[in-house]
C-alpha cells in the first residue's frame, strides 16, 4: 500500500543518464529549474518540452512511471492553477459569471504556471530516478566541499542525508509490516472520525518510533565499531571523477540555457493570448 509512492525513488535501468556523474545531474537539474522561469513565451515552452522529451527518452524510465510521481502534487497543482486563473486580473475579460471573472492574463498565467510546475516535478524526479541516493549524497558532498573552508560541516551533513535516505525504504517497509500485524490483531485503521483515526495510529506509531531508535543505535554502534570518526582523513572506495561524457553533458546544458535565454527572451512566439 505504501510502496506506491514513486517520487524521490531510484529507478534502476541502464541509460546514459544513469551513468552520468551525480554532480553533472545536480548542477543540470538546478540550471534546468532556473531555465523554467526565465522565459515568458511559447517559444520557450517549445524548447523546454523538446529538451525534457529527449532527456526522458534517454533516461529509459517509462513515462507512466514518471507520471505516477505527479499524483501526490495534484492538489497543489490544482490549487495553484485555480488561484492564477481566478485571481489574476489583467488584460481583457474572456469570460464572466457574477463575480467570477477569467481574464486573459489569468488564463495565461494559469496555463504557464501549471506547465511549469509539472515540468519542475518531472525534471527533478528524473534526477532521483536516475541517481542512487548514495551517488546523490556523494555528489552533494563534493560539490559543497569548498564550504568546508568557512566551517560548514559538509561531510557530516552529507552523511546525515545519506543515512536518512537509506532509512526511508526501511522504515516504509517496517510501517507496512507493523500495519499488517496490527490489522491481523483486529486494528481498524480506516473507519471513524478524524480523532478516532488519529487514535488508531498509536499502535502503529509507537512500535515504529521504537524500531527507528533501535535501528539508529544499532547503526551508530556498527559505524563506531568499524572505526568511523567523521570525515577527516576518510577516503572513498569509488571517488567521483569526471569522464568525457560528463564534460559533454555540461556543454549541452550550457548550450540549452543560452538557447532558451536568447530565444525565450528575444524571439517570442505569440499565438492568441499566449
Amino acid at each position: 500500500m505504501i510502496r506506491d509512492i514513486t517520487i524521490g525513488q531510484y529507478y534502476p535501468a541502464r541509460s546514459i543518464l544513469h551513468r552520468l556523474d551525480p554532480r553533472v545531474k545536480l548542477v543540470s537539474t538546478f540550471l534546468y529549474l532556473i531555465s523554467l522561469f526565465i522565459f515568458q513565451s511559447i517559444s520557450g515552452y517549445i524548447i523546454v518540452t523538446i529538451f525534457l522529451g529527449v532527456v526522458v527518452s534517454l533516461s529509459k524510465v517509462p513515462l507512466s512511471y514518471i507520471m505516477r510521481g505527479l499524483k501526490p502534487i495534484l492538489i497543489l497543482l490544482l490549487v495553484t492553477i485555480c488561484f492564477n486563473l481566478f485571481l489574476t486580473r489583467t488584460g481583457s475579460v474572456l469570460f464572466s459569471i457574477g463575480f467570477v471573472k477569467i481574464t486573459e492574463g489569468g488564463l495565461r498565467s494559469a496555463v504557464y504556471m501549471g506547465i511549469r510546475l509539472i515540468y519542475l516535478i518531472i525534471g527533478s524526479s528524473l534526477m532521483t530516478f536516475t541517481t542512487t541516493p548514495n551517488e546523490l549524497t556523494d555528489g552533494i558532498e563534493k560539490l559543497f566541499k569548498p564550504l568546508q573552508k568557512i566551517k560548514v560541516p559538509v561531510h557530516e551533513v552529507a552523511m546525515i542525508m545519506a543515512i536518512a535516505l537509506r532509512f526511508i525504504p526501511i522504515l516504509l517497509d517496517e510501517t507496512d509490516k507493523i500495519m499488517k500485524a496490527q490489522i491481523a490483531r483486529g486494528a481498524d485503521l480506516e473507519s471513524g472520525n478524524l480523532f478516532q483515526k488519529a487514535k488508531a495510529m498509536i499502535p502503529i506509531l509507537v512500535p515504529l518510533f521504537i524500531s527507528a531508535f533501535r535501528r539508529a543505535t544499532d547503526l551508530a554502534m556498527a559505524m563506531e565499531s568499524r572505526g568511523y570518526h567523521g570525515g577527516e582523513g576518510r577516503t572513498k572506495m569509488k571517488p567521483l571523477a569526471y569522464k568525457k561524457r560528463d564534460y559533454y553533458a555540461y556543454l549541452i546544458m550550457l548550450f540549452y540555457v543560452v538557447v532558451i535565454f536568447v530565444i525565450g527572451r528575444y524571439y517570442p512566439l505569440r499565438i492568441w493570448i499566449f
Binding site: 535501468a13 509490516k177 507493523i178 491481523a184 486494528a187 521504537i210
Partner: protein
C-alpha cells in the same frame, strides 16, 4: 473448518522495475486441528503465502475459501476471518505498544468488541498459556527480555481465540532453550485446545519434531506436500533447494547404507534410537 487455496498467484509491485512473482499456482487445503509445517529457503514465498490466509495480502489471481466461502467475494467479513485465523508475524515483539503487558494482550480482544472484563479474562488466560508470570502483567512490555516479549506478543494473538494459529518463524533470533520452550508451548496448545497450527520455519529440525504434515516451498511453488517421513526421504532433492533433512535422517540413511535394516523415517533422536535398537535385534 478449513482453508482452501486455489491457483493462487501473487506478483509484487506489478508494473514496475521491481516486479517479482512471489507465488506461482499454489493449491492447498489446511484442515481443522492439524499441525502444518511450511518450510522453505529465504525468499521462497512462505511469508507471502501466510499473509494470504487471513486476507492481509490479496492474491493477484486465484481464490481462497474459508469454510467453502470465498474470502474475495464482495462484502465478505475480513475482520471476522482475522479473528478466526490468528497471524503471528516474524519478530512479533516489534509490534508491542501498550503501557503494560496486560493491556497489550487486551488489544486484540478489545478490537473484537468484547467487554473490559472479558478482554482481561482472555488476556490472562493467554498469558498463562505462554508461561508469563503474573507479576509481569503490570510491567511495561519493553522492560521484558527478548523471549518474554515474544511470548507476550504471541499471547496477544492467542487472546483472540483463533481456530487457526499461523506463526511466521516464531523462534528466529532466540537461543536454543527459548526456541524449545516456545515450540513446546505451541505444540501443547495445539493438543490441548485442538488449535490448528501453521508453523513457518526454515529449520527442518524444528518442524520435523512437531508437524504432522509438511509443505516445502521453493521459488514460490509448492515442492512437496506430505507427511514428514515421506518429505525427508527426498533429502537429496531438498539439499538442491538449500534445505536438507534433519540430521537424524542422514544418520539413519547412512546406517541403512552400511547394512543395518532400519526404517529411515524417524523424526526425533528418541525415535531413531528405538529404531536402531530394533534394527540391531533384527540383524542378530
Amino acid at each position: 473448518m478449513s482453508i482452501r487455496l486455489e491457483n493462487i498467484q501473487y506478483v509484487y509491485s506489478q508494473g514496475t522495475a521491481y516486479e517479482k512473482q512471489a507465488l506461482r499456482d499454489i493449491n492447498l487445503q489446511i484442515n481443522d486441528g492439524e499441525f502444518l509445517g511450511i518450510i522453505g529457503h529465504t525468499g521462497s514465498g512462505k511469508s507471502t503465502l501466510i499473509q494470504h490466509l487471513n486476507g492481509l495480502t490479496k492474491a493477484t489471481s486465484g481464490n481462497i475459501y474459508f469454510n467453502d466461502e470465498s474470502i474475495y467475494q464482495s462484502g465478505y467479513n475480513l475482520k471476522n476471518l482475522r479473528n478466526k485465523v490468528g497471524l503471528v508475524f516474524q519478530y512479533p515483539e516489534h509490534q508491542l505498544f501498550e503501557e503494560t503487558v496486560l493491556k497489550d494482550v487486551c488489544f486484540g480482544p478489545k478490537n473484537q468488541g468484547l467487554t473490559e472484563e472479558e478482554c482481561e479474562k482472555r488476556a490472562k488466560e493467554a498469558l498463562e498459556l505462554v508461561g508469563i508470570a503474573e507479576e509481569l502483567y503490570i510491567r511495561s512490555p519493553f522492560e521484558l527480555s527478548g523471549g518474554q516479549k515474544r511470548r507476550v506478543a504471541i499471547a496477544g494473538v492467542l487472546a483472540m481465540e483463533p481456530d487457526f494459529l499461523v506463526l511466521d518463524e516464531p523462534t528466529a533470533g532466540l537461543d536454543p532453550r527459548g526456541r524449545d520452550e516456545i515450540l513446546d508451548q505451541i505444540f501443547y496448545l495445539h493438543q490441548r485446545k485442538e488449535l490448528a497450527v501453521i508453523l513457518v520455519s526454515h529449520s527442518m529440525e524444528d518442524i520435523a519434531k512437531y508437524a504432522g504434515r509438511i509443505i516445502v516451498m521453493n521459488r514460490g511453488k509448492v515442492l512437496y506436500d506430505d507427511e514428514p517421513g515421506k518429505v525427508f526421504s527426498h533429502y537429496k532433492e531438498l539439499e538442491k533447494v538449500g534445505l536438507g533433512a534433519p540430521q537424524i535422517t542422514y544418520v539413519m540413511n547412512e546406517l541403512k547404507g552400511k547394512g543395518l535394516p532400519v526404517q529411515t523415517d524417524a523424526r526425533t533422536v528418541e525415535d531413531a534410537a528405538k529404531e536402531i535398537i530394533k534394527g540391531l535385534k533384527r540383524k542378530s
